[in-house]
Amino acid sequence: MALFEAHHLHKRFADQVVLEDITLSFEVNQISGIMGPNGAGKTTCFNVLTGRYRPDRGKVLFDGQDITGLPPRKIARHGIARSFQMMNLFDEYTALENIVLALPEVRAKGFSVLHDLAHDGSAQDRGAAVLARIGLAGREHTLSSALSYGQRRALEIGIALAAEPRMLFLDEPTSGLGTDATATLAALIQEIRKSVTIVIIEHDMKFLFDLADRIAVIHWGQVIAQGSPEALGENEWVRASNLGALA
């Protein structure tokens, strides 16, 4: 059994069917990719998998437990973290404060009024370690709004990582990044894949084909193909999109 499974998900908004009978599974310690044209339902699919929307029908299983329709905070507590396509940082906080808030040990102290995070050595050290891991060492006390675009993208992933998830969903992590920054990001993902199962939505086909172990193609709210990058290179839609050459 796979670590994360989605069975026959349906989702509609008003009279528009956005997801139709989506079945996906993500194996432990693999990188899985999801691709497809704009408006195909990729982000909606992520939102259903991570609890922002409840599916109309279907089932989501994580490590054998049914997590269908749970709110985001409960899904997060199962050890599932996500990043966002539109950046979702705490702009009035420094890079380190952004990270510290995501640590599970801080979440456990959420209702404490006697602690002071600025003087909490263990939380600060762990936060700094996460920043070092995503290449932001030395920027601990920079306001997140003052970071460069690429650094903000990295911090976006850092927040998700800081939650020490077993499963990480990344929504278009390369969007807006240049070639160099994309290469750095690919290296970061290669590094973190050792400890966490990753699912990536991505437009940058080369990036995805290089990293992913398995890829699913979503179109018209349905999974129209899935398999290894090599196998998908032969797929009709992928070829039609002139992407086969990249595989």
Partner: protein, 348 residues
């Protein structure tokens, strides 16, 4: 030998700060000099009460980003609850205060349960609707609240401290009861907003959906902070009932709910803990000083407010920060320019 005092001072620094101590010093001595500067004791009482109330409002507006536009209702509920506990339960200061806080927190908690899943203007609108409902109930339920006449003859009960007790019949003594409440509220509130809980509510203000995806129960945090803010407003309301020796419907009107927001913003509650304190002082000074010259002081105050929102939405605290950074830059030079000293606006 030297480690102990250092650890102690670090712990104290968790609880107290220099501006806090300055505020205690200024407010603590105020009754002794307020007459000398041409003002009067009752003004001090009003300032203390509205400072407590404005701090409670800012806990929502400035820290959690929840615009409560009907908070005057909770000030009024606290005042009525204080009077009603005094008349119907026990004519004891502590019991009546407790009654005010508990009733206001309970009704606040009820409102919070209805609205904690909302944000932005929809949240503001729901607070207005709830406040208007409280207003109408208070104005029509004459048997309970005295309706348009208000709840009269509320007593300033003696402060019973076990070993000794003192009367708060004089404004001078009542001021010190309010000051004691201020000290407790400020110390606890400062601790609250600098704890993990405080970090999380500020994160909710910046981006509530991200907070939820980090596994926090956003609804519960909003509910708690709203209820807490109402409890503190209830305390302020009880003190207001003592000061006015009555509870009146007027303070539950939207006008006063708006004016407290105006105080918080003019002071700079968005960017500074002390913003509401500055704003309340500014409002009352403007009322008494402008009011001495013109009947339409509210017109001029409104204009000042409009100009402030246009050009310096960070308020008085923002001006203070600017002055400080200007001063800081000048200080780096060999000879600081004495004219660049910050104004005393933030000294109290």
């Amino acid at each position: 030998m030297s480690i102990l005092p250092q650890a102690l001072s670090a712990r104290l620094a968790n609880w107290f700060t220099a501006p806090m101590l300055v505020s205690f010093l200024v407010f603590g001595t105020m009754p002794f000099w307020i007459d000398a500067v041409g003002l009067y004791q009752y003004l001090g009482v009003e300032v203390m009460i509205w400072v407590i109330f404005a701090l409670a409002v800012n806990l929502l507006l400035g820290y959690t980003g929840l615009p409560s536009f009907g908070h005057g209702a909770f000030l009024g509920i606290g005042a009525y609850a204080y009077g009603l506990t005094q008349f119907n339960v026990a004519a004891n200061l502590w019991i009546s205060l407790l009654g005010a806080v508990v009733v206001t927190a309970a009704l606040g908690g009820l409102v919070a349960a209805l609205i904690s899943h909302r944000r932005g203007i929809y949240f503001a609108l729901m607070t207005i609707a709830c406040a208007q409902i409280f207003y109408f109930v208070a104005s029509k339920w004459t048997d309970m609240t005295g309706g348009e006449d208000g709840l009269l003859n509320i007593l300033r009960l003696p402060v019973d401290l076990g070993l000794t007790e003192f009367s708060i019949k004089s404004n001078f003594n009542l001021y010190y009861l309010c000051f004691a409440a201020y000290v407790i509220i400020v110390v606890l509130m400062w601790r609250l907003v600098h704890s993990p809980f405080g970090q999380i509510i500020r994160a909710i203000k910046q981006n509530d959906s991200r907070v939820a995806f980090l596994g926090y129960n956003v609804w519960l945090y909003k509910w708690l902070i709203f209820t807490l803010s109402c409890a503190i407003s209830g305390l302020a309301g009880a003190l207001f009932a003592m000061a006015q020796e009555g509870a009146y419907i007027n303070i539950m009107s939207l006008q006063w709910s708006g004016i407290v927001i105006l105080m918080v913003l003019i002071g700079g509650g968005f960017i500074n803990f002390w913003g509401p304190v500055l704003g309340v002082i500014f409002y009352f000074l403007a009322r008494d000083i402008l009011g001495a010259y013109t009947d339409t002081w509210l017109l001029w105050f409104g204009l000042i407010f409009v100009i402030m929102v246009m050009f310096k939405p960070e308020g008085l605290a923002g001006i203070w920060h600017d002055a400080q950074s200007m001063f800081g830059r000048r200080k780096a030079k060999p000879q600081p320019d004495p004219s660049a000293k910050p104004s005393h606006a933030g000294g109290d």
